[in-house]
């Protein structure tokens, strides 16, 4: 089982990228907005950018140490780097691209399902095929550590879902330490075991996708993770529940304990929609007009006042929901997470 450790400071134009990260035989996603320094981290690990200080090691071997003056050249580091947009050699066939790291690798072409494309040039391939060639080429290096820079960004939405699943399966099978960079939380959640959120060169939170959605440490993480985030002031009630007066004046209840200014996180799929307030067990009801209905696969994302609910297309049809109609969004106090806002 491999492992990699980095603890580095890399100066970029406006700030320093300061990242400390340990990666076991797992996939860690670095998620953040563009310009956060995600690619810089990968470049530093690959030896293409030079940290001003820190250390990088893989399987116990030092690749970089600012104090010990170790700085292996990129060609000496056993990394498999899938660059943004894949950077396939346009003048070489698929086969030759993969063989670039040394020797023919029929096994990798077979494994990634691109054996039939061996003689094709990169310009003749689809986005998904290019990604597989880039992966095969990186694996031909026999890497100790995989670096993947936005591997899904160049794909159209149709292939994206399938490619995510394939990539996840492949990474599980390889059981190599891997760092995946993406700006898309859904990609990260689908492929990675753990997610580190990078903002302006700092990791602001690390955890599983579920942990980040449930307990985001900041508004940024909450919005990135895609849960509903409302803000308000919390106080404990005698019955053990917490009452939060939202900034809009609305009052809601949560089973979490908190006082003072808090963020309220509710997953879209925890919210149900009804025509009228019913005698259900949900403690929280928000009456508001429907602002939008967005289809997402077999589901509908329905925006009701400050909340986004996710319901099945079937339910939406049965209720005959239309934009502008007033409905009630209901969610349980036990599904209402409170998080201290920084």
């Amino acid at each position: 089982m491999g492992s990699a450790r980095l603890d580095i400071t890399v100066p970029v134009r406006d700030f320093d990228v300061e990242v400390a990260l340990g990666v076991g035989a797992e996939t860690v996603a670095l998620v953040g907005p563009s310009g956060a320094g995600k690619t810089t981290v990968l470049q530093a690990v690959a030896g293409l950018a030079r940290p001003s200080q820190g250390r990088i090691s893989s399987n116990g071997t030092l690749w970089f140490d600012s104090r010990g003056r170790v700085d292996l050249r990129p060609e000496q580091r056993a990394v498999g780097y899938v660059l943004q947009e894949y950077a396939l050699f346009p003048h070489l066939s698929v086969e030759k691209n993969v063989a670039f790291a040394g020797g023919e690798r029929r096994d990798l072409l077979e494994r990634l399902g691109i054996a039939g494309l061996a003689k094709a040039r990169p310009s003749e391939l689809s986005g998904g095929e290019r990604q597989r060639v880039a992966l095969a080429r990186a694996l031909a290096r026999r890497p100790e550590l995989l670096l993947l820079d936005e591997p899904m960004a160049a794909l159209d939405p149709h292939t994206r879902g399938r490619v995510r699943a394939e990539l996840r399966t492949l990474l599980r099978e390889l059981a190599l330490p891997a760092i995946l960079v993406t700006h898309d939380f859904v990609d990260a959640a689908a492929v990675a075991d753990r997610i580190a959120v990078l903002v302006e060169g700092r990791i602001v939170q690390t955890g599983t996708a579920e942990e980040l959605i449930a307990a985001p440490s900041s508004r940024f993480v909450a919005e990135l993770a895609g849960g509903n985030l409302l803000t308000g002031n919390a106080r404990l009630r005698v019955d053990g529940l917490t009452e939060v007066v939202l900034d809009s004046g609305l009052e809601i209840l949560s089973a979490d304990e908190a006082t003072g200014p808090v963020g309220v996180v509710v997953h879209p799929w925890e919210i149900s929609i009804a025509r009228a307030e019913t005698g259900d067990s949900a403690q929280n009801h928000v009456r508001a007009p429907i602002e939008s209905i967005v289809p997402v696969g077999n589901r509908r994302r329905v925006r009701v006042g400050p909340l986004t609910a996710e319901i099945t297309a079937v339910s939406a049809e049965r209720l005959g929901l239309k934009e502008g109609e007033i409905v009630v969004a209901a969610f349980k106090a036990t599904a209402t997470r409170l998080t201290a806002l920084s």
Binding site: P74, Y81, L83, E85, L88, P90, A138, R141
Partner: protein, 267 residues
Amino acid sequence: MTAVAAGVAFVFLLLPIVAIFLRVPISDLFDQLGNDVFRDALVVSLKTSLIAHVGVLLFGTPTAYLLARRRRFFGRGALITLVELPLVLPPAVAGIALLATFGRLGLLGDELDALGISIGFTQTAVVLAVAFVESPFYLRGAIAAFESVDPDLIAAARTLGAGPWRVFGRVALPLAAGGLGAASALALARGLGEFGATIIFAGSLQGVTQTLPLAIYAELDQDFDVALAISALFVLVGAAILISLKVFGWARHGSTSPFRFATSTSR
């Protein structure tokens, strides 16, 4: 208005070229090429241009690669300007500069003298003059060609275990080949036509330093038809070079460039 201006421009540029072929029937024109002056000049020109050109490629290609790859170092701009300087210098000034360096009374005159080397007015002088004048043409094109190679491809090659030589040979060189070929052809054409620096630094001795352009000048008083014939040859060779650049898609901005998709996959 613009049509008239364009018409004037075309006529002004084309008429002199056409005139070369109109004065004497083409068949008579090429009979002149049996002439001794022409033959000697052709041999001198081919020999010196070839040697100079090989030298320019050998030294210029790594220099251009270095300047293209290292985008940020102190004095890069100054260095590139310096390299490009011969481009804007009158060739006569280049000749004087070479004379002041390698001539008997020049900067290195005593040292060369001590080694028993005399360069002025020899074929070596022609080679130096041609190389001096054509190298900025090659360097400019070659730097641009290497700069157009996507740095991500170089980075990818390095992470795949390729050392500097392999990166150069397997990635940078093949991907820059189109631009390098174009730069090389233009530099060669410029070298073949070199006149001013050569006549000052190397003189115009038939069979020794008299290149084709110098022969045109020499024949001007002797036999105008020979001068015309050599000129016609230059027009044909020049046209052939330009056409081959277009046909092989070597010109960097040509719409037929086979490397148009070289850098980006799906932008």
